[in-house]
């Protein structure tokens, strides 16, 4: 099977599976999007204040 055919096959299988799953996952997907919006509202208040310094100063020694 060529790569093109394989992608085509994946695409067909996927669209069949998607149609089946669409009704059940559609609602869930909407809810997850709403939850993400809520989270993004919250992130600002939780995020470390000086992001640049916070990220820069996080230096670890290797382990294991």
């Amino acid at each position: 099977m060529s790569e093109q055919e394989r992608i085509q096959k994946q695409r067909t299988e996927r669209s069949e599976a998607t149609q089946e799953a669409e009704t059940s996952t559609g609602a869930k997907s909407e809810k997850l999007k709403a939850d993400l919006d809520e989270l993004l509202d919250e992130i600002d208040s939780v995020l470390e204040e000086n992001a640049e310094e916070f990220v820069r100063s996080y230096v670890q020694k290797g382990g294991e």
Partner: protein, 501 residues
């Protein structure tokens, strides 16, 4: 035939802050603060530590062999775990567990233990010196530290078979269990600054097989320290995974790997998919395969040894079929009871179907997806460039353990473990492995234990001699076998006397 898949996870936590920004000192403070809370400190017995022994049958070259540090802070907990300083990180090595779900519970208990230890250490430190722990695997600057899974494997399986059979899983499983990060940290990371990849660890792997864990990291680690009867058992030390915040990811990562190892014992290596022709390159390439979030169709294929081109999703799909075949043939009893096996297989399948059809629906279980959505969502909302340090801060803070700071705890991840179970697992050992024996010894006789390790407990009865109790079979020393013995013994002397009868 498949043997019981005793298993567990050891995690080195990232550590920031502490007096003089000294990570070794900070790690020691964390460990000793927790030991003080428990009111005992148990030394480690180094008798059986030989990290230089190689599963391929030769001793490692000494200059590359891992070094055992014998002077650092260490204790053993009543839940059977080891809490200690490994290099410059505090490490929680969970007790040996009987099933993947139990091992997940004890991994989560480890997060809570580390959180308590952090609080205890900070209570005696200036606020400027406060310590923060992160359950992650890299600092974004080229330094990586490990989350290692351990699985009991029959000694009858030749090591070369383990390598051949397991490499496809080890290079592709990051699709489902990767914790994700922004950018690359090595010359071969293959990401521009600000570009996302699926795994924290993958780019750090340079070899297919080897003894080292800190340099030239191998996909399959050959450290041959079974911590058990070496005639019968191996301990496969799996160093290629990411630390997961998602409990479902931890569970399916352990469950899938345990089932495939059991399938290897049952059927041999020939039923496994052909490995990639270049596994190290495959692992890095799969880490960069973000096509899922755009189209649900992989565009990253690597050649296997037969010249076929395979995506990480196709490998995982084939391995799921193989695990299902093993379950159909044996019931999967080597790994867990029927109900838990069904949960592993269902969740593994749901993650695979979800990622191909609608990644949003599995972002409550796949860490890299949860993190990616957060980063992209935040970037779009505030119109930031991919290089904004605020995005890097999100990526790091995802792994913060503190409820008031953790972003993973705000990501809507599904919890598998009940809070009350986690509380219990912080203090009580698993009932059905030798961890029960170790944990109960520590709980009942802490003042009489001179030291302990994975396969023995050494008693000091102040009679001039040390008494070592070996536990060479990880499936023994269980609650069923030893609870009565413990209950009938008021003192350590009595206990040893009964044991020796």
């Amino acid at each position: 035939m498949a043997i019981e898949k005793i298993l567990g996870i050891e995690t080195e936590y990232g550590i920031a802050g502490g007096p003089e920004n000294d990570p070794i000192l900070a790690s020691s403070l964390v460990v000793t603060a927790y030991a003080r809370l428990q009111q005992y400190l148990i030394k480690w017995d180094f008798e059986a530590e030989h990290p230089e022994i190689d599963a391929r049958g030769v001793r490692g070259h000494l200059q590359f062999a891992p070094i055992v540090e014998k002077t650092v802070a260490n204790t053993v907990l009543t839940n059977g775990a080891r809490l200690y300083v490994d290099h410059a990180h505090p490490e929680y090595s969970a007790p040996e567990c009987r099933t993947p779900l139990q091992a997940t519970l004890y991994d989560v208990a480890g997060e809570e233990i580390m959180l308590e230890a952090q609080k205890a250490a900070n209570s005696s430190l200036d606020e400027n010196d406060h310590i923060t722990l992160y359950k992650n695997n890299s600092d974004g600057k080229g330094n990586s530290y490990g989350t290692h899974e351990n699985f009991l494997v029959s000694r009858e399986v030749p090591f070369d078979d383990i390598v051949r059979a397991m490499v496809p899983h080890f290079v592709s499983r990051q699709l489902l269990f990767g914790a994700g990060k922004v950018g690359a940290e090595t010359e071969w990371g293959g990401r521009e600054p600000g570009e996302f990849q699926l795994s924290q660890r993958s780019e750090f792997f340079e070899e297919i097989v080897g003894l080292e864990t800190t340099m030239k990291r191998p996909i399959v680690n050959t450290r041959d320290e079974p911590h058990a009867d070496a005639e019968r058992f191996r301990r496969l030390h799996v160093i290629n995974g990411d630390a997961n915040m998602s409990q479902v990811a931890t569970f399916v990562k352990l469950g899938s790997t345990a089932l495939l190892l059991a399938a290897l014992e049952e059927f041999g290596p020939t039923v496994f998919p052909s490995p990639p022709a270049a596994p190290v390159r495959a692992m890095r390439a799969y880490a960069q395969d973000l096509s899922w979030v755009h189209s649900g169709l992989s565009t990253v294929f690597v050649e296997d040894e037969n010249g076929m081109r395979v995506s990480s999703w196709e490998y995982q799909d084939q391995l799921w079929q193989l695990a299902q075949h093993f379950v159909d043939q044996t019931g999967g009893v080597a790994v867990a009871e029927a109900q838990e096996i069904t949960l592993i297989m269902e969740q593994w399948r749901e993650l695979l179907d979800g990622i191909a059809n609608n990644p949003d629906v599995v972002s409550d279980r796949i860490d890299w997806l949860a993190k990616y959505r957060m980063i992209i969502g935040f970037q779009e909302r505030h119109d930031l460039t991919p290089l904004s340090p605020r995005l890097g801060a999100i990526a790091l803070q995802y792994h913060d353990l503190r409820p008031e700071k953790s972003l993973a705890q705000r990501a809507g991840l599904i919890r598998l473990c009940e809070l009350i179970e986690v509380r219990n697992a912080m203090h009580e050992p698993p009932a059905d492995t030798r961890a029960y024996f170790r944990g109960e010894c520590v709980r009942r006789f802490p003042e009489n234990i001179s030291s302990a390790n994975w396969d023995s407990v050494v008693f000091d009865l102040e009679d001039g001699a040390l008494h070592r109790v070996p536990m060479m079979d990880p499936t023994r020393g269980t609650k069923d076998l030893t609870e009565k013995l413990f209950d009938e013994s008021a003192t350590a002397e009595e206990f040893l006397e009964r044991l020796n009868r």
